[in-house]
């Protein structure tokens, strides 16, 4: 009755949950299963050149009709470029020439032939790691692929005389990535009266040009890509960012469709981030790891993009402020990834005093100010340090009322933070790593031991849990609880206990229990 597995869609569905190794095992079971699972295993192949267990040419030829994604890694071996592969959708070359092989042109020509054989279906092409593999023939072949939509090059040397065909190949793609590769492109061709858009279909651009590339090239691409939605602009910290040109481009709204902006190496000012956000419509992603996100940027973000923003990544001390982080969490309901320095417990809940007119003159009554509930219920990844009111040195205070209030504040904060976190049931990664060793953060003990871990039972998708440098006193009970309630848990990074002996013991215990659980799967 396992004939159900003979139905290709059922076999494919079961195959989704199996590793390559398991699919290979299934192919040995019987002839029918061999037939059902071969296309699944051979859909995406990786050829690790010059290794004993690598795919042979015969095998590639046998399953050529199933292969859609082909990847060459390790040492590039001319004998495994097969003319039988004609159904490829994606081709990746990230291998290198061996020391003995001195013929980059031979390999480049073989790659060109593969491209030609798959001209109609090929959509994705990636060439990385071997600088000498660029050749005119390769780019000409690529330019002839009518469905080419994704090109990536990294660590490549493209000769100046081949630059024109390289750009021709790139001209109609949707996704372009040029990393550590020297390219040149003139901003305005003198013979053109009106420069036409050279990259009309380009939606996603990742550039990390080599140091020799000029600013001219960056802008020659950007100013000719009117449909650009996503920009990932990297450079070395030491490179000067062409800020004036950038400001002009943004203030003239030359990238009107831009929704994702990532500049993780450069440091932009608050003003410039605001300028960038003003130029974007319905922004989805802002990754400015080293930039100063302060009042102006915050204003622009909240007034224009609060409802659409999905990814926010900052990492500079004090920017954004805790109040801003709380506001972001309680306004941006589309948020999926947030990385910020910290959020204070007092921004979530605060015991305050209110002056009121009472029967016998003015009275001070106590009020609890509650921060708004977090609305980002689709949040998948949260990296923020929770700076909670420190009650660890309460013995040192000599004001009993003050101590009592401190205790209550501390307790309220713990309750409310856990409550907010428990509502974010789609969380896959939580990182509450602290900046200062042993700072007061969330108490991750079980409720029976004084903490609030139990509240997080709802985070069924949690895979990564990180809490290093937060002062904890966890035991094996907490580890058992985590493994029981978080079925997808893979990674835990943290200091379980101040006592290094105990901590080491628990690290080992966790590792062992995780290994045992993984063996079952």
């Amino acid at each position: 009755m396992s004939s159900a597995l003979e139905l290709p869609e059922i076999a494919a569905h079961v195959g989704l949950y199996l590793s390559r190794r398991q699919l290979a095992t299934l192919m040995q079971v019987c002839k029918t299963w061999n037939y059902s699972f071969a296309p699944l295993l051979y859909r995406a192949c990786t050829i690790y050149g010059n290794q004993s267990k690598s795919l042979s040419l015969d095998t590639i030829n046998k399953y050529a009709s199933s292969i859609r994604d082909l990847s060459y890694e390790g040492c590039l071996d001319p004998s495994v470029f097969s003319p039988e592969c004609s159904q490829l959708v994606s081709l990746t070359i990230s291998g290198r020439l061996g020391r003995k092989t001195d013929r980059p042109l031979e390999i480049s020509t073989l790659i060109s032939q593969v491209i030609r054989n798959n001209s109609n279906n090929l959509k994705t092409f990636s060439l990385q790691n071997e600088p000498t593999l660029s050749s005119r023939g390769l780019w000409v072949a690529l330019a002839d692929c009518p469905n080419m939509s994704h090109i990536e090059v990294e660590n490549l040397i493209i000769l100046p005389e081949d630059m024109d065909v390289f750009w021709k190949a790139c001209s109609m793609v949707e996704t372009l990535s040029i990393v550590s590769t020297m390219v040149t492109l003139e901003l305005n061709r003198p013979e053109e009266a009106t420069p036409s858009a050279r990259f009309p279909a380009l939606q996603r651009l990742k550039i990390a040009l080599s140091e020799d590339s000029t600013d001219e090239t960056h802008f020659a691409i950007l100013l000719n890509a009117p449909n650009l939605k996503s920009l990932d602009w990297r450079g070395k910290i030491t490179t000067l960012f062409p800020i004036d040109r950038y400001r002009r481009m943004m203030s003239q709204r030359l990238l009107p469709k831009l929704q994702r902006l990532r500049m993780s190496s450069y440091q932009l000012s608050d003003q410039d981030i605001a300028l960038s956000l003003d130029a974007m419509t319905d922004a989805r992603e802002l990754n400015m790891r080293f930039s100063i996100f302060s009042d102006k940027a915050y204003q622009s973000l909240m007034s224009r993009h609060a409802t659409t923003i999905r990814v926010l990544i900052f990492n500079v001390a004090n920017f954004p402020t805790s109040a801003m982080v709380q506001s972001i969490l309680s306004s941006c309901f589309s948020l999926e990834i947030l990385e910020a320095r910290l959020i204070s417990g007092t921004d979530l809940v605060r015991i305050g005093q209110v002056e009121q007119d009472g029967a016998n003159g003015p009275e001070t009554t106590e009020n609890i100010f509650l921060g708004d509930d977090w609305v980002c219920l689709g949040l998948k990844s949260l990296t923020v340090n929770f700076e909670m009111t420190d009650n660890s040195n309460r013995e040192e205070l000599d004001d009993p009322i003050g101590v009592e209030r401190l205790e209550r504040q501390h307790k309220l904060e713990q309750v409310h933070v856990f409550r907010q976190l428990s509502r974010l049931t789609r969380l896959e990664k939580v990182n509450i790593r602290s900046m200062h060793k042993h700072s007061q953060s969330l108490d991750l003990r079980l409720e029976s031991r004084g903490g609030g871990l139990d509240k997080l039972a709802s985070l069924k998708r949690l895979e990564w849990f990180q809490f290093d440098w937060t002062a904890q006193e966890l035991s094996r009970e907490e580890i058992d609880w985590m493994l029981e309630h978080w079925p997808r848990l893979r990674i835990v990074i943290g200091t379980y206990h101040r006592d290094t002996e105990k901590d080491r013991g628990m690290q080992e215990y966790f590792g062992e229990r995780l290994r045992l659980r993984n063996i079952e799967y």
Partner: protein, 159 residues
């Protein structure tokens, strides 16, 4: 509002519309037909299997409809089956595959997922011989053929 489902062997089952509509096939049928009392024939599903499928749909009647996430991780996991579903799936193999086929025909994606994950979990960690035993399959390969397949697929071993 009740809906009547009729199995292959002519057994009638009356269920709430909300429960029946966990099946996208039935949902579409109901939309096409409009307001009617006529029973819905399901000629591909026997009564024993239909009973199980209805049990699943009743239990999950209030679940939110799954929207495929555009950023869903392709590395799918099968170790997150809920406890109730796990117990529900503790049936003999024949029934397991019947449920999968029914979920496929009736287009009940969550049930299909659970069924396939269950099969995947049976397969995981087993050698070909153990798999044959688990599914009562006869080995129709010669030892040479089996060895050849193993050699061909060596590249997939470590990944």
């Amino acid at each position: 509002m009740p809906v009547t489902l009729v199995s292959l062997d002519n057994e009638n089952y009356v269920v709430d519309k909300e429960v029946a509509e966990r099946s996208i096939l039935i949902k579409n049928m109901l939309e096409d037909v409009g307001e009617t009392d006529s029973p819905i024939p399901l000629p591909n599903v026997t009564s024993t299997v239909l009973k199980k499928v209805i049990e699943y749909c009743e239990h999950h009647r209030n679940d939110p409809i799954q929207v495929p996430d555009e950023t869903d991780d392709p590395r799918k996991r099968s170790n997150d089956i809920e406890e109730w579903d796990m117990k529900f799936m503790q049936v003999d193999q024949e029934m397991l595959f019947e449920i999968i086929l029914a979920a496929n025909y009736l287009d009940i994606k969550p049930l299909l997922d659970v069924g396939c994950k269950t099969v995947a979990n049976i397969i995981k960690g087993k050698t070909p011989e153990e798999i044959r035993k688990a599914f009562n399959i006869v080995n129709d390969f010669t030892p040479e053929e089996e060895a050849q397949i193993r050699k061909e697929n060596e590249w997939a071993e470590d990944r």
